[in-house]
Symmetry: C2
Subunit: 689 residues, 2 copies
């Protein structure tokens, strides 16, 4: 590697930026790798993998992680962000263990914690957190994933014996993709339409025993099915559940937001059924928060492997005939990997802000509607971009390692298969970005707040309407920087932070204003026509949301850089972070350069500088690739990739030594190409003479 651009940084200081405020819990999660149950066998046998994964989840309990989010009164620390931070690091062990633990502690126990009462906590939450009561989270149905409000499962109250009767009225209402459902789950929290006294009160959650003990026989009326093999997460026993007149006591309704009295009278503290529904769902935002951070972990792991290999692997000679170049010195290799490094930094520091929002709300410090809504929007948008980034990053890393990247022993292909589903579960990314977009719109224009456009629009619309206090905060940023677009802008350096900020935010503002202009007339159209108008801008909506989320992530990176700049003696680290921020910002601008030119935000001459500036930033950043790997904080046990641990460098040294020794021997064969060149030169000379 060229040392020309290398900064003298302390990887630990960079690592501290990445690890954020809950670093301590993060390290606990990272150290789980030392457990003998942390890693699954290299086998394709589902039964074996599932048992190993269960053992991993049980081993995890010993770390104390699962108790962190419980209230102090119930033996926990009320530390929600810390729990999530630790949880996210489990990707370094096994995503299967992580997600099975997520199902058990985050979803199953989480639903009991957030939707249940104290008595229910005593009865089910405690054994769930101790891993003594394994459960499934039965929300999604075959027929309805993103549109939870439309699920078909019913829970009809029968006052005669004070029970709810749970039913799967048709095949599409079968609960689907549930971890713990195929084998291990003893119970499930089942989301169903609560019907009492002839009224459907919408989706509520019920505690329903499904098996006679752990991994036992299904209880009467409960039919589990096994989802079998998947694209990854092979250690999780995903399956289906259907219910045929399964009766549970009235007190099995998790009744925090809605209850049914013995006589069948329904009551709720939240009058609006829509608001009640979204409040219940909102308590489950933790899943999205933790997947955002998990995407960061996965991308770091992949880059760690590919960059370490790229710093050793040599291929083709360059200026020097005898020594081949390391891959990381090739411009294209830098161009492939460095923008992904910048993205993972942006995602990591933005995630730390998300964790803070999360702790404020769930720790109880600021449980206001506004705080909850900001949290939900951040979680939805961040999760979408980070998990997509993670997949792209893993794939690019796998390709950057060539054939070696395709070998299971080098980790990347397994990681890809596991992470693949993160982009569609806990909220399909495409739907999540529409949710963000709708909130941007309702923040932008009051009359769009209550617009009922049908379709996905209605789903999102309802949510946004319930969240009238929501503020994206974007408009304010926009106003303060509005005046930066003077004619002089184009003469500023493209690496100026203010220019990047202005361009990224301005793009969001213009996109949102354009969309609002198109959608405003739809508010007074008949539903079918309005839905058509909405559908005609769906793509733009999603792009606007992406632009907004990426602008927020840029802000987080900019904040993190300024934070480091303030510390004395951290100049080189601050410079590295500036390179990362600039690469992130300019890459975003390059991705949409046509837009910036078309809207007059970038002169053509300045636009032409973007590409070469990115090239140069990639080269500079690559000079610290080794430090960046170190800053990720992972060891060989986390990476578990043969090619990342020096074997390649050793082999190449051996080959070089061989040739050096061989050349020194008298009988080392002459290369025919040299003889050919000599002969041709002689012939040429003879001809001339």
């Amino acid at each position: 590697m060229s040392k020309k651009h290398q900064l003298s940084v302390d990887p630990a200081r960079i690592g501290a930026v990445l690890d954020g405020r809950w670093a301590e819990q993060r390290y606990i999660g990272r150290s789980f790798i030392d457990s003998e149950h942390a890693v699954l066998s290299e086998t394709g046998d589902l039964e074996q993998l599932r048992e190993e994964t269960l053992a991993g989840v049980k081993a995890l309990i010993d770390t104390g992680i699962s108790g962190l989010p419980l209230p102090e009164s119930e033996g926990g620390q009320n530390n929600h962000a810390g729990y999530v931070a630790a949880f996210e690091e489990l990707v370094t062990a096994e995503p299967s263990i992580q997600i099975k633990a997520g199902v058990q502690f985050g979803l199953f126990a989480g639903a009991i914690q957030h939707l249940g009462n104290a008595e229910q906590h005593d009865k089910w939450l405690k054994p769930a957190v101790r891993g003594e009561l394994l459960g499934a989270f039965a929300m999604t149905e075959i027929g309805h994933g993103s549109d939870v409000a439309s699920i078909g499962t019913t829970a009809t109250y029968d006052p005669s014996d004070e029970t709810f009767v749970i039913n799967t009225p048709f095949r599409a209402a079968t609960k689907e993709y549930l971890g713990n459902a195929a084998v291990h789950g003893e119970a499930a929290v089942v989301f169903a339409q609560l019907i009492t006294n002839g009224v459907n009160h919408g989706v509520h959650c019920f505690f329903v025993p499904i098996r006679d003990g752990a991994a036992g026989e299904p209880l009467p009326g409960v039919t589990p099915e096994d989802d079998g093999r998947k694209g990854g997460l092979l250690g999780i026993d995903n399956g289906r559940l259907s219910f045929d007149n399964v009766r549970v006591p009235r007190t099995n309704l998790l009744n925090r937001y809605g209850d049914v009295a013995a006589d069948g009278t329904y009551s709720s503290d939240i009058e609006s059924p829509g608001r009640r529904f979204f409040t219940m769902l909102g308590t489950l935002v933790q899943g999205r928060v933790s997947l955002d951070g998990s995407g960061v972990t996965a991308a770091k792991l992949a880059l760690d492997i590919a960059m370490r290999y790229g710093l050793q692997r040599r291929q083709f000679t360059g200026g020097d005939d005898a020594v081949e170049e390391v891959l990381m010195d090739y411009q294209q290799h830098q161009r492939r990997l460095m923008p992904l490094v910048a993205r993972v930094f942006a995602n990591a520091v933005a995630h730390d802000q998300l964790l803070e929002s999360f702790q404020l709300v769930f720790g109880g410090e600021d449980d206001s509607d506004e705080a909850r809504q900001r949290l939900e929007t951040q979680a939805a948008g961040f999760k979408a971009i980070t998990t997509w980034d993670a997949l792209c990053t893993i794939q690019e890393c796998r390709e950057a390692c060539g054939g070696a990247g395709y070998m299971w022993e080098n980790r990347l292909v397994g990681l890809y298969g596991d992470l693949d589903v993160y982009v569609t579960f806990e909220g399909d990314n495409t739907v999540l970005l529409q949710l963000v977009a709708k909130r941007l719109l309702s923040d932008y224009a009051a009359e769009l707040k209550d617009i009922d456009l049908g379709g996905v629009a209605r789903y999102i619309g309802t949510q946004a309407a319930e969240h009238s206090l929501y503020r994206s905060g974007l408009a304010n940023v926009g106003r303060t920087i509005g005046d930066i677009f003077t004619p002089a802008l184009n003469n500023k350096r493209v690496r100026s932070g203010h220019v990047q900020q202005a361009m990224l935010h301005n793009r969001v503002e213009v996109m949102v204003a354009d969309l609002a202009g198109t959608l405003r007339p739809a508010a007074s159209m008949p539903p079918a026509k309005a839905a058509e108008v909405f559908n005609s801008v769906q793509h733009q909506l999603i792009e606007a949301a992406r632009a907004y989320i990426e602008a927020l992530k840029w802000e987080a990176l900019n904040d993190a850089m300024h934070e480091v700049q303030k510390r004395s003696g951290h100049d080189e680290e601050a410079k590295l972070l500036r390179r990362i921020r600039d690469l992130y910002g300019l890459s975003l601008i390059e991705d949409n350069i046509g837009w910036h030119i078309m809207y007059g935000r970038l002169s053509m001459s300045r636009a032409r500088q973007i590409g070469p500036t990115i090239d140069s930033l990639c080269t500079k950043l690559a000079a610290n690739a080794g430090d960046i790997c170190e800053s990720f904080g992972y060891g060989p046990k986390h990476r578990r990739a043969t090619i990342a641990e020096g074997i390649e460098a050793k082999r190449q040294q051996e080959a070089m030594d061989y040739y050096r020794n061989a050349r020194a021997q008298r009988d080392f064969p002459v290369d025919e190409r040299h003889l050919y060149k000599q002969r041709k030169a002689k012939e040429k000379k003879a001809k001339r003479g």
Copy 2:
């Protein structure tokens, strides 16, 4: 689905365009699915999958496919393109069977056929083609993949017993990733540096027995290792081979391009060692040709599954409260899938042109240097873009199917894992595009032809230098359309074929001219400095190659459209192809819209039309999504995806029937949301009153 834009097309006619000139052999390949050995078990057990795959390869022999490329004198049909077309369709059965067959017939037998003599054909080719002699293709080493000239394995001639001594001098020279090496291979064609009389004559190919019978014990001096689990292609027994003083008779050298006499004298018809090397490698172009077509098959399969599901699956209500919308009606769903449909059409028809080039050269009709070079460039560039497209397409399709897409039973995740390696084997895509770029350069400027820039440049440079007759044909197209860039251009419709053509070609020309300008001075620089200059434009080189290849594919699509337009009574089919061509062309322009504006090829007002025009084309094309699925020519046995065969529509009908019947009952529960709305309206009225 909206019928507004639907064209009345005959899917068979569209299918004929896709299937091309070797449709007959393509159907033979497609019908292999009827063999009882065509599909592997849904298991993760490597041993079982490998045996099933071997059985599949043997079953394949009964179809007669493997004999197609043999000369008529050896019982074949000299039908190289037909063989490849049939082979490509095997992706619909199992990629594992396809690639193991490719190793056996294309690589192992192919090397014997193209590099060996008649006697060697009798001895090894015939049993190889009959599947009685299984073999590995031992070219790649741990230390060298793309840079084949630098492999370390040696074959040193010993006149005392007239043998070659094969050696692996150091660990990095171990042959790696070889199908058939871990278990089934009885022999290997081994690429090694041929050394005789103290001269290294470069890489040659040797027939080397490695096992005592099929799946038998390794022969003395041969050490096989097993690569174990991979990201996909689990049915193939990839492995490593190393050699310790393994002696093979002199006559085991496949001696078509270079031979060694009993006394050790080397001889070759090709004087230049560089040219000889590339001629030998050139005979193996078939692998790249067939992967190009395999990428088409895989992408078609994935789109077939996702579109069939998208036409059934309903989610969220739109204009009508009672009936949910099908996914394919959502703009974003169209925007996700339709550009990929356009790409697979472009890749398919371009591939047919590649097959024609291939048949011309290998059938012997035009075996000129120029034809070979054109073929090699096409194969390299097409393969790179098509295989990347296939991966992106499969992933997008998997996400478009949500959680169902992640289930093994819906095929997409398995297909992704299998196809993943296609982007780095038979030539790493990144290296292949550099090869294309260097040829563009040497065609553009004579002085760049012999430039020695070191590194990858040198590798590519040598190849290009050897190919002085190479003509991309691009400059000619460029000249004829040069005058289209009048000020009036921007007033033409963006869907004009001439405008698309001019923009796509002009971009390539400008990029190549820019690069030539940067690289020209490097020709007179010292090697290290020159290598640095070359490296500084590596990314641009790759982008130029991509632009060139995509322009060629656009031409192929344009040709195919005109072909259909000429046929009477095919108007609707021609219109569909025009939509596809325009969507492909405009998507390419949108991908690089900043470039086109910056270089003054597109006015800003016209540029703003591109996005909405693409939106509209996607919607129009989606109206024929069902016909497009039909045109792919696959049945349920090829797709093997539960969600693609009507089960989803059936479930949704069942759910709709349930609700219709339930609503007709007196005791159907009232929705609380309606009661809430009524109450609110009443309260409002009361307040007013």
